[in-house]
């Protein structure tokens, strides 16, 4: 069989090309990030040692940071340090940036995962109902998604706290972190309190963690949810007009079954391509929302780093977000290539 092999090698070639493109984008992104870092008008060494240090101390720190090396060497060191997860030390308190981010990551991860879940489920339900029922419902969905796309997440967070949180109806816990203070965090397995709580058989921890999650996760889910709603509504409207839907109906399949099995399926595939955008919106959102809820995640690390003029933290965070964005897009492309029969490599 010569055809499958040739198509396999073609797919491999295509995959390798895509990978090279991704690497090039990442390298360029690191250059951009490095240029911005070097654009700092002040001397990073001066920022670290403070205004009162003697020139000797300053020179010592400069050498230590490699600031006297030629720029290209500095860039290579920067690249090496980023790739080997040595993201430097906080300018303000000397803490290991990598360790700080690693310690705070699970909190943000848990928040982002729940927000993602809310956004996807909400968007699929609203978009499907809107495109299936049409009429007024479609108009409402359109307005809601347009408004949702325009909401400042940190303000929504504030309003939610005022209305539902401790200073409002008190239905949900206000800005008080991940758990009620008298509860012990569950034994560490994944670092996600809801998951660990279930694993340890502590339903109270699970429900308390979920209650604490609800408001920040909703604030965070709003923009990606609105974005996905618009995308899925438009995609489903396009697919619903395709002749094959009439053919499916002509088999005797009911309108709802045809919509669910064929229209929704075809509409979901292309929306995978926006995985990177959704991730970017979750990262940005966590920066804006965590501080409102006093959520101990990496978003707050960044905000505190900004307030302390801590370039090491900000640089690591910013480049990391770009890497994650590119990785998400690449992963989504790979998933589409696996799931979409038109792109799938024939193995038969």
């Amino acid at each position: 069989m010569s055809r499958p092999t040739s198509s396999t090698s073609a797919a491999l070639k295509r995959g390798a090309g895509a990978l090279l493109g991704v690497l090039a984008t990442l390298l360029l992104a690191s250059v951009v990030s490095f240029v911005v870092l070097r654009a700092v008008p002040g001397d990073p060494a001066r920022l670290i040692v403070g205004p009162l240090a003697t020139p000797d101390v300053l020179a010592g720190v400069r050498t230590q940071l490699g600031l006297d090396d030629p720029l290209w060497l500095q860039y290579l060191h920067y690249l090496r340090d980023f790739a080997t997860l040595q993201w430097g030390y906080s300018y303000s308190n000397g803490a290991d940036v990598t360790a700080v981010i690693a310690a705070r990551l699970p909190a943000t991860l848990e928040l982002a995962l729940w927000a993602f879940l809310f956004a996807v489920v909400g968007a699929v339900v609203v978009a499907t109902l809107a495109s299936y029922r049409g009429g007024a419902l479609a108009g409402v969905a359109k307005v809601v998604s347009l408004v949702g796309l325009g909401t400042p997440q940190f303000w929504v967070a504030l309003v939610l706290v005022l209305v539902l949180g401790s200073s409002g109806l008190g239905v949900l816990p206000g800005p008080s972190g991940r758990l009620t203070s008298f509860l012990e965090p569950p034994p560490h397995v994944t670092g996600l309190y809801t998951v660990d709580g279930l694993l340890a058989g502590q339903p109270i921890v699970f429900s308390d963690a979920l209650a604490h999650l609800a408001l920040p996760a909703i604030s965070l889910a709003l923009i990606p949810g609105a974005f996905l709603t618009r995308l899925l509504t438009a995609n489903q409207a396009d697919v619903a007009r395709a002749p094959f839907v009439t053919v499916v109906r002509s088999k005797g399949v009911s309108r709802w079954a045809a919509h669910r099995r064929h229209v929704l399926h075809n509409a979901l595939l292309p929306s995978l391509a926006s995985a990177g955008l959704v991730l970017a919106s979750l990262i940005t959102g966590s920066v804006l929302v965590e501080s409102v809820f006093n959520w101990p995640g990496i978003g707050q690390v960044l905000v505190q780093g900004v307030q302390r003029q801590d370039f090491a933290v900000v640089q690591a965070f910013v480049l990391l977000s770009a890497v994650l964005y590119v990785a998400a897009n690449t992963a989504a492309d790979a998933v589409v290539a696996l799931v979409d029969p038109r792109l799938r490599v024939s193995t038969r």
């Binding site: 360029l28 654009a39 108009g139 400042p152 706290v161 800005p175 970017a280």
Partner: protein, 291 residues
């Protein structure tokens, strides 16, 4: 068609109201920063429509001034960023292929950074403040324009009218300005409107974090940060009103952007219908004359 016209009408109405608020803000600049500890933390009422903040400043005056700041900075950054983006798009579309390839890679690399974080890094690098925040936002706007317009510009170069212009020996800058830019019209106007919304959001986000406009500047994001401190003690109005103004601005601009393609298409259809009736088709007329 009518739905999108109604939508454009709602958007225009909202924007008109916001412009009025911004103009009012120009006359309230003193009131917006006037500290009056005696009347601090008053709830909304006849004396202070939106109440007062912790230092007794009038929240309505601050929101109004914030509106003029937001509209001015939104329009300015989008104009500068959009102009630079258009320039890059034209270079990509009409220039040599290798340059296009290099520029696209670079744009993709810049776009890999979430807009808020890139703007944040640039702002921090050049020192905190509203002006550097504007610079940071411009950096994020340029690739968005360049990337979307480039695709259209590339398509334009394969259209017969551009190839015809090439064939009769028109210069590349002339083709770019007279033939390609009009072709980009709809995309450009949608991007202009949509990006004003994004820019206003990112700017307020920067101020919220603390790298944009600094207190006591009455910028919406900075005001929400201040309002956060009072929210837990019940003074909701300090943070809610600026956020509401921000939300309405972004929604109005997004509604406008969303309705532009349909409205433009309808207008074009009407224009061709009107022009077709009185004037005979020149090509057909020529054919008749020859026959």
């Amino acid at each position: 068609m009518t739905a999108s016209r109604a939508q454009a009408g709602v958007a225009a109405g909202l924007l008109a109201a916001l412009v009025v608020l911004a103009v009012v803000g120009l006359f309230l600049q003193d009131a917006a920063v006037k500290v009056d500890v005696a009347s601090a933390l008053q709830a909304p009422g006849a004396a202070h429509w939106f109440g007062t903040d912790a230092q007794g400043r009038d929240v309505f005056a601050r929101v109004a001034v914030g509106t003029s700041i937001a509209l001015a900075s939104g329009i300015a950054t989008v104009a500068v960023g959009g102009g630079l983006g258009l320039l890059i798009a034209l270079v990509c579309g009409l220039g040599p292929r290798w340059l296009d390839a290099v520029l696209v890679r670079l744009l993709d690399a810049v776009m890999a950074f979430p807009a808020l974080l890139l703007a944040l890094a640039v702002t921090m690098a050049f020192g905190t403040g509203l002006l550097t925040a504007l610079l940071g936002v411009v950096v994020t706007v340029v690739p968005v324009f360049a990337r979307t317009l480039r695709a259209e510009a590339r398509r334009a170069t394969s259209e017969p009218f551009v190839q015809a212009a090439r064939t009769i020996g028109l210069s590349t800058p002339h083709i770019a300005v007279r033939h390609v830019v009009p072709y980009l019209g709809t995309t450009l106007s949608v991007q202009l409107a949509a990006n004003v919304g994004n820019v206003v959001l990112v700017l307020s986000g920067l101020s919220f974090i603390g790298v944009g406009a600094q207190p006591p500047t009455p910028e919406w994001g900075a005001m929400i940060t201040e309002g956060l401190q009072n929210a837990l003690t019940g003074q909701w109005w300090i943070g809610v009103f600026p956020g509401l103004a921000l939300l309405l601005t972004v929604v109005a601009v997004n509604l406008l952007a969303d309705s532009i393609p349909a409205v433009r298409a309808a207008r074009r259809a009407r224009r061709t219908r009107r022009s077709r009736r009185p004037r005979p088709n020149p090509v057909a007329a020529a054919a008749v004359k020859e026959a």
